[in-house]
Symmetry: C2
Subunit: 350 residues, 2 copies
């Protein structure tokens, strides 16, 4: 039907990585909001906080003392959700109650000794150093043969359950393949077997041709709002080259990733002139699990804000029970992000 218009009519879009669909309701932005308005967390932190367990030289929960680090610092989470020494075992009661033990390692990465900064405000060399550290951690964890998947991520901001404003990320590595990775592996494999090219290589070609959802591009990476984005300002960083994990990046690609990370996080902060909350993380090939030639490295950003610094999108009733749903189109979100300054609002206000 020629009347069907993605900018106007409710529709569903398929996420080609998971195979799942999202409901898009473009007309629904006109809805007035009388619901929850979030309070903004304080944004006047000191450069060093004596009470912060991530700041250099301070005490941690396990009694140990952080080194006087000057760039970044990784350690094993004092409250790990996964533990290395879990006894192996499984339970099945009539196939209806099924459980399997799970072991793993949880790491914390302090991004900077500066308590008052975030990724968006760090220098490119500092971001490059974090990427370097992520690669080292990925390598070391993958050398443990019981580890099958390594999730590198960051929860930024109170709204995203971050319990300490000191800039930091986490790594959860475990002995099985989590749900989202399982789905993305299936769909990438299916495509790769038929086409001999990675799913995201071909997807990038279409996106670069259409240009509608591109936010930023450099020699090695594209930052875009996926056609199937669920969160209002969700983005994805995709490597132009088909690489399976962070270990395959060249030095130039590492530098370009730092540039892309800085670019999107600065735009995010500029959107509502606030330190923009999100959960972000890389999706990479499983480890100790064969070749996985189908896997194409990418990084997802899932930010909750919808209308302003204090009004978020709620993924609740219909979304939890039925189907993810969004109110603004990915094209509109991309245009907004594309038109934002690449210079951080705080460095202008100085």
């Amino acid at each position: 039907d020629t009347n069907f218009d993605l900018n106007e009519h409710p529709h569903t879009r398929q996420n080609i990585l998971t195979g799942e669909w999202v409901l898009v309701s473009p007309h629904r932005t006109k809805r007035p909001w009388q619901g929850k308005v979030e309070s903004l967390p304080a944004d006047n932190r000191p450069e060093h906080d004596p009470a912060c367990y991530l700041c250099a030289g301070n005490k941690r929960a396990d009694g140990s003392k952080n080194p006087d680090y000057t760039t970044n610092f990784a350690f094993t989470n004092d409250y790990s959700a996964l533990l290395p020494d879990t006894p192996v075992g499984e339970i099945s009661i009539d196939g209806l109650l099924r459980a399997e033990s799970q072991s793993g390692i949880c790491r914390v990465i302090a991004f900077s000794p500066r308590h008052d900064l975030t990724l968006a405000e760090l220098e490119l060399t500092a971001i490059n150093g974090i990427i370097q550290l992520w690669a080292e951690e990925f390598k070391a964890l993958s050398e443990n043969p019981s580890i099958k998947h390594i999730q590198i991520f960051e929860n930024k901001g109170e709204l995203m359950g971050c319990s300490n404003p000191h800039p930091h990320g986490q790594i959860w590595a475990q002995n099985s393949i989590p749900l989202e990775i399982h789905k993305e592996t299936e769909n990438q494999k299916k495509y790769f077997q038929v086409n001999g090219r990675s799913l995201l290589s071909d997807y990038l070609k279409v996106e670069l041709k259409e240009q509608k959802r591109i936010v930023f591009e450099n020699d090695s990476f594209v930052v875009l709002v996926p056609f199937w984005a669920v969160w209002p300002y969700e983005t994805m960083i995709v490597s132009k080259r088909h690489v399976r994990s962070i270990l395959e990046f060249t030095d130039k690609e590492q530098e370009d990733l730092a540039d892309a990370l800085k670019n999107i996080t600065v735009r995010y902060d500029n959107l509502f002139q606030v330190s923009f909350p999100y959960s972000a993380g890389m999706h990479q090939m499983p480890v100790n699990d064969g070749n996985h030639a189908e896997w194409h490295w990418h990084m997802h950003f899932y930010p909750p804000l919808l209308r302003s610094a204090t009004i978020k999108k709620f993924m609740v009733g219909y979304e939890m029970l039925g189907n993810p749903q969004r109110d603004i189109t990915p094209e509109a979100a991309a245009e907004t992000l594309r038109n934002l300054s690449e210079i951080h609002y705080k460095s202008i206000n100085l």
Copy 2:
């Protein structure tokens, strides 16, 4: 391995309705919390609020006036995410950008003319009246041959994106089958074809035998914390009889459902002595889509609170990128809920 203990060791559990697994970290409750503490919404509402678009006799966004209803009241959402007259159409660019138009109807159900009450505080006869209305709405919507699925749900509380504290629920009916229903249909069908009994009938037998996760039971319904619950105090109401939708309930079953609804919502409010936020909704057979003999009616409650009235569980980084994760065991949650009073705390404080 005989050392593997569900109460102690990190493990995964399978959701037999969706086929997906949840990561359970029983030891993680010891983690201190320095993150977001929610503010409590005001709990001193008038019986009638002249500014509320759901109160009897008041004006709505579309200019119409609510009737002077005395029990409950249904109308079409003034800001529907789904619309009945969407042009049919689909798009596929190289199979990589895929979209389909979506049509449907969104309804709002005011549960009571009393602006100051919630389901937990309504009389059984009033709750029974709401169930009656849900059944009528379900029937009317299913008589529209283009409707394939009807999602009846409630978002309760600011924390769950509810934009008006007046007690109300919603219905989203649409021309396709949403993701969660699709998954539950697949798994129920597979089980029914092999065993000739519904998946949830057999699951209920195991749960009633074990008793560990049962919160409440009457002649027709069981309220339990599913073995695979994701949210800290997630529960499910399951009908003892294998019925596919609300339309098959006897009068006695309708009354027993009112009893079960009242029971669990009162316990929830008593847990932290606060009007307990949640998203809840029924899962029922798709409509205008064949017999669906495998389908077994149930209702999910997804409440976000974890530690107190102001500290919730965040489903963020690892959960969004990897796998759902929970900190307390379903057995511990069930025990807590089971030991709570069945009398609402507010009616005692009077």
